[in-house]
Amino acid sequence: MTTATDKNWTRSLRKAGEAAFPPERLLPDSQPSYVASWIYVFGALTMAALGVVTATGLVLAVMGPTWWHHSSTGHFINSMHLWSVELFFFAMVVHLWGKFFMAAWRGNRTLTWITGVVSFVVSIGTAFTGYLSQTNFDSQWIATQAKDGINSTGGGAVFNVLNFGQMLMWHITLLPIGVGAIVVFHVLLVRRRGVVPPFDLSPVKEEVAQ
């Protein structure tokens, strides 16, 4: 709480941050006893996959977009980039199913759910521009097909999937920044609100709910 005497912006910001995210909430060493299922691991697995995607993407960026066509090392890094993306979506979908069946939006966690959906959508966009940035037949074909979908929305006027330079920029700067920011926000919300409790099956609550 900011008191009338506390007019220092920095101090207010720090106090708000400390109140929202005390260290033991940010990096917890205990969980409610109901958090006991393998399904809880898939959020962390998704993040780990995103880490590997980012790391391999950074290596590909060092040598440029066509390196992997003629270098065996480049090709292997590209394989790692592809498979970590497959693992990323795999883990994210399992995580999504789990959170759906737990109705994890309950108890003021709606924004956590929405940021999760948004990060899924933005990730699809990032993967899509990645396919366009491969500088091979896939990129040619996907670009010429996707243009019709995007042009039909009017979006083709600014987002030209046939412009390799533009798509590469979206893939390696704009969209990763977007995914990163949303994922950080999502995880902070999870840490702030905690893990959703099970449905309370006591008959009193059920009656009230009807």
Binding site: S72, H75, F76, S79, F90, V94, G98
Partner: protein, 63 residues
């Protein structure tokens, strides 16, 4: 590992997938076996994740 083997592994030759895919076609549905395997594994993983007992949680503080 010799340089030649390493080179082959980097290009990826253990299980070559550079051949036409097979497709499961049923009415207007058509899906490649590879995608089917991926989606099937997702379902299996999900079922495993909720069914397989999570270790070390019998009592609170039991770990």
């Amino acid at each position: 590992m010799s340089a030649g083997v390493l080179e082959a592994v980097r290009w990826g030759a253990v299980v070559p997938l550079d051949h036409p895919n097979h497709f499961l076609t049923w009415g207007w549905l058509s899906i490649s076996y590879s995608n089917l395997i991926v989606i099937g594994l997702m379902v299996v993983t999900f079922l495993g994740a909720i069914l397989i007992p999570f270790p070390g949680h019998k009592k609170s503080g039991a770990k």
